[in-house]
């Protein structure tokens, strides 16, 4: 429903994704299974909140990663499976809804930093298919207070403390790298953006004219 964010932002995630591209997605599966198990154990209410739906299937596509995820949040046996590719034209025959966007925006959604209303005003996320399922998923995860880092760290018991410090240092580097890349991107594309804005404004006027003509001829 939003601007099709098919072009991923230039970000550390994208670079990491490109680096990972040679590895088959099945290698991810054990990690995903472990994460899902933890989330299921620590936040059973997420799946309870979705129980009103007949086993919805979500395709979650972080556009800056070379893979996508199929999420089936069944109350007893929730699963997430990585897929290397899918056909955007037919995916809604198997999935109820598709949520597409940069990994970091999807993480914001998962960890409750984006609320239900803002979701629909976000320029970053694109939603297709059953809107009701998506709203339910958003509400369910928001209510669960999922924090992926904390949920995973909880596995490590006494090691969680030192790991948390390492994660924080990593976050600083990540955030710095994100800023640097954004700066680089802006510098590269600035001239063409100006031109783009001018063309867009002309196009906008033309579309309005066509709409007015359409309405006139309809009446």
């Amino acid at each position: 429903m939003q601007r099709s964010p098919d072009v991923p932002p230039l970000s550390p995630v994208l670079l990491a994704g490109l680096a990972l591209r040679p590895f088959p997605v099945v290698m991810l599966q054990p990690v995903l299974d472990a994460v899902m198990l933890i989330i299921h154990r620590r936040h059973p209410d997420v799946f309870d909140r979705l129980s009103g739906f007949q086993n919805p299937v979500f395709l979650i596509d972080p556009i800056d990663l070379p893979c996508a995820f199929i999420l089936t949040p069944e109350t007893r046996n929730p699963r997430v499976v990585a897929v290397a590719e899918y056909d955007p034209k037919t995916i809604l025959e198997t999935a109820d809804a598709v949520i597409r966007g940069p990994l970091m925006s999807l993480m914001d959604l998962l960890e409750g930093r984006i609320d239900g209303d803002s979701l629909f005003f976000s320029r970053d996320l694109m939603i297709e298919g059953n809107t009701e399922c998506v709203v339910a998923l958003r509400n369910a995860v928001d209510g669960a207070e999922i924090n992926v880092t904390e949920d995973i760290l909880a596995l490590f018991g006494p090691l969680a403390g030192p790991l948390r410090i390492a994660k924080k240092a990593g976050d600083v580097i990540f955030s710095r790298a994100t800023q640097d890349l954004a700066f680089l991107r802006d510098a590269v594309i600035a001239p063409s953006m100006h031109r783009h804005a001018a063309i867009e404004s002309q196009l906008h006027k033309l579309t309005e004219k066509i709409d007015a003509i359409d309405r006139k001829s309809a009446t």
Partner: protein
């Protein structure tokens, strides 16, 4: 000196409830996970166990819990609404927020000691209506519909001064432009009724279509808005849609905007209101934390006799506009 204004905050999940309490809510309002309340949205609201835990948490922190049971049971099926009232009473809720007269009658006779608030959905916009609900059903607080200006609220409070009743008004969040509880627009387009089923412009009937490079948002069979491909497409709430009248497209009912009466808090206090309500049980806990924190600061400043600090809500309105709505007469 006036007594401090009560801050009434929304919660759609136990996490949001905790966020509201931590941010300084005096009261939190919530609903059961079914059609008995006006925010019956997928994945939202409380089951009985969550309400019991939420009540304990809130009461341990000195916060009141108000349970909204504010839809209208349709003939032949009153049981879920009666059960909801019974459950709120049994678990020790501080008040129930009701709209339907039959349900008010049931509550007054079956649970006389359970405090009763009148929901905005009852649209009690004048002194005779308020007097009626107080006399007939012992209502102790009325949430005023968003149809009155600040001077009208002040005049209304003067007229009901002889009745033992408080008034509560909305100060932030989504905004109904029609008189609440008296709008069948969404029902006309979707068959799902805000009054009966508790959902306006329900997500189940929302879809987006790509037409000739434009993104079209639809509610049921009706186009509510159109956007350019790179423009963010808003949620198609019916009365915030763009329509054509006399050959001209416009947001005839209301722009996609949020209510913010943050700048009117001293005036609302002077108008005699008891409580200020924040809309948004469907919003996430990030929203709840930020809005409640901001209003808590403002109310504490007012209580200390200082001017309220300017509230920065820009992060929450996401490029949406803000309005003081009907509180200023020119809105009409």
């Amino acid at each position: 000196m006036n007594r401090p204004l009560e801050l009434v905050c929304p919660a759609g999940t136990p996490a949001a409830l905790r966020a509201a309490v931590e941010a300084g809510a005096d009261s939190v309002y919530l609903g059961f996970r079914d059609e008995t309340n006006a925010r019956n949205f997928p994945g939202l609201n409380f089951n009985h166990k969550e309400l019991a835990e939420g009540l304990k948490y809130a009461h341990d922190n000195g916060t009141r819990i108000l349970v909204a049971i504010n839809t209208f049971p349709e003939a032949g099926n009153p049981a879920p609404w009666h059960r909801a009232v019974d459950c709120a009473a049994d678990l020790g809720a501080d008040a129930v927020i009701l709209a339907d007269i039959g349900l008010l009658d049931y509550t007054a006779s079956h649970h006389p000691s359970l405090r009763r608030h009148l929901s905005v959905q009852a649209s009690a916009s004048n002194p005779e209506a308020i007097r009626f609900y107080c006399n007939a059903f012992g209502v102790r607080r009325v949430v005023l519909p968003r149809v009155l200006t600040v001077p009208e609220i002040a005049a209304l409070n003067r007229e009901i001064a002889g009745i033992d009743v408080e008034t509560e008004v909305f100060v932030f969040g989504g905004l109904c432009v029609m008189a609440e509880g008296r709008c069948a627009l969404s029902s006309y387009a979707t068959g799902i009724s805000p009054n009966k089923n508790g959902a306006c412009s329900p997500a189940s009937h929302v879809h987006y279509e790509n037409q000739r490079g434009k993104m079209v948002s639809k509610l049921g069979a009706f186009t509510i808005n159109q956007f350019h491909a790179d423009e963010p497409a808003g949620y198609p709430t019916l009365c915030k849609g763009r329509f054509v009248t006399n050959g001209k497209a416009s947001y005839l009912f209301e722009e996609p905007t949020s209510l913010s009466a943050a700048m009117l808090l001293p005036e609302l206090q002077a108008a005699g209101v008891t409580a200020l309500k924040i809309e948004g049980r469907q919003r996430g806990r990030a929203y709840i934390s930020q809005v409640v924190t901001a209003f808590r600061k403002a109310l504490d400043a007012i209580a200390a006799g200082q001017p309220p600090p300017p509230l920065d809500m820009s992060a929450l309105t996401e490029g949406q506009r803000q309005t003081t709505g009907v509180y200023e007469k020119t809105w009409r």
